[in-house]
Amino acid sequence: MPADLLQRGRRRERSGRHVSQARLVRRPWAATFATAGIVVLCAAAAGIAWAGHAARPATPVGKPPLVPIPKGHWAAAPPAKVIPVTLPTALSIPAIGVQTRLVQLGLTPSGALQVPASPAVAGWFVDSPRPGATGAAVIAGHIDSYLGPGVFFRLRELRPGELVYVRRAHSSLAVFRVTAVRTYLKSRFPTAAVYGPVPDAELRLITCGGTFDPATGHYLSNVIVFAVLQA
């Protein structure tokens, strides 16, 4: 009897083992389904993130980072006579969170405007008037690198009336007021309006914009900010 009981007990044990094994067999299916669901969600999320990044939002997201308004001597209105103005060293545009040192830009061998080697800094065109002197000083910066935003990524968000600060050697400061922000097809670049003579102290900020042509690796337009020295 005790042996019989023992056997029954073993059978029960065995049958119990059978039940738990069956559950184990069923559970992996559910687990696999759950995993599959997660995979789909993750893939979709990754897709969204990727596409969201690729399709740059047309409107600004969030507030610009805080950039302090530079301190220093405010340049007086341009005088009628030629007085020396020192070289520009740094640029600050609090409205769009730009703060960068300025490199010097010349011409490429083909005679085009040289652009900064780094997408993170802007540059002043050395053959343009110095910022604050009579004439339009020209500063260019990249909208982006191969991977992400450049120093002038948000240039097109500037609006008339907003201020642009150019620090010059010996800590003098030229303050410019934005008068216009315009986008031009590169094939119709407004050479005279950017590089031509003007009777007061002005500033032109240049970056890329419009449609990107993957075939040539270039944007089809330039975004140009026009600004005048704040009297």
């Binding site: 995993t35 789909v40 990727w50 596409a51 009628a80 405007l113 065109f125 191969y146 094939s187």
Partner: protein, 291 residues
């Protein structure tokens, strides 16, 4: 059967996720960027006193029809030329009063100026005090490529006429008092400019860069002539060819790139389909075992 239902649910989920991904991925791209536009219909005016024997004056600039002056320059004496003031295009009145005279008093002189957008003007008191007049001199804001522009205003009363040269280039020949030459294109460089009158001569070393526009004013100083070099306008010495290549496309919307979420969701769907198939075939196996 249950597996099939699960698979259908999974399929629905996948479809819904795909739709959501599509909506989120392509939604923002569909919003067109607003084109920034701002018209700057402005011109420039500067004011000058170029009458040697006329006393100092107060110069007022009024928008036409307005009783309140937009700009007032106090105590402007002979030889003074203001900087350019940017003004909205339109009609203006320039009035001169004796220095210190009330703004409400009758002006000694006044003239109308029609400011066109993108144009600059010099409004100068010219001539002898006895025949003082306000003259509107149109300025120029474009240079031939790679050249400088120069003109001369003869504001010396000591010399009836002057001849002005920059190197070997004649800028003015026997130019009469209170008159102005037209602009002349000059090769960029530092030039020795000479103004020669009947009794006096003035010399100045003047740097004329490409893209710059200068007005040289011949002025009287006690017992001598001087040349005042005014930089009317300046631009880039060299005009770069074409546009600026200021982007690499890292933030650009590209049609190829936008297909990736599709591919990801598609791959996920495929994965779930395969999993489902595997599950269905596995379900049959334990049934065989049970037998």
């Amino acid at each position: 059967m249950r597996t099939a239902t699960k698979l259908t649910r999974l399929g629905r989920l996948a479809a819904a996720t795909t739709a959501a991904a599509f909506g989120l991925a392509f939604g923002p791209a569909a919003i067109a960027a607003p084109a920034a536009s701002a018209s700057s219909q402005v011109g420039w005016i500067r004011l000058a006193h170029l009458s040697p024997n006329a006393p100092a004056v107060d110069v007022y600039l009024y928008s036409f029809g307005s009783a309140t002056a937009q700009i007032v320059l106090k105590h402007v004496s002979y030889g003074t030329v203001s900087g350019y003031e940017q003004v909205a295009a339109g009609d203006y009145t320039v009035a001169m009063r004796a220095a210190g005279a009330k703004a409400s008093s009758k002006p000694v002189l006044s003239t109308a100026v029609d400011v066109l957008a993108g144009h600059a003007y010099t409004v100068a008191g010219m001539g002898p005090a006895s025949g003082l007049r306000l003259q509107v001199i149109p300025d120029q804001l474009t240079t031939p490529r790679g050249r400088a522009l120069v003109r001369v205003i003869q504001a010396s009363m000591q010399e009836d006429t002057v001849t002005v040269t920059a190197g070997n280039t004649r800028l003015a020949t026997n130019l009469k008092f209170a008159s102005v030459t037209s602009f002349r294109s000059v090769k960029p460089g530092t030039w020795t400019v000479r103004a020669v009158g009947a009794s006096e001569t003035a010399t100045a070393s003047i740097n004329l860069t490409a893209g710059s526009i200068h007005t040289l004013v011949v002025l009287d100083e006690p017992g001598k002539l001087v040349i005042d070099d005014l930089l009317d306008a300046d631009g880039s010495k060299v005009e770069p060819a074409g546009a600026a290549r200021t982007g690499f496309g890292g933030t650009a919307a590209r049609p190829g790139a936008a297909l990736l979420p599709w591919a990801a969701v598609g791959a996920a769907g495929l994965a779930s389909a395969i999993t489902g198939t595997v599950l269905v075939s596995r379900r049959r196996r334990p049934a065989l075992h049970a037998r």
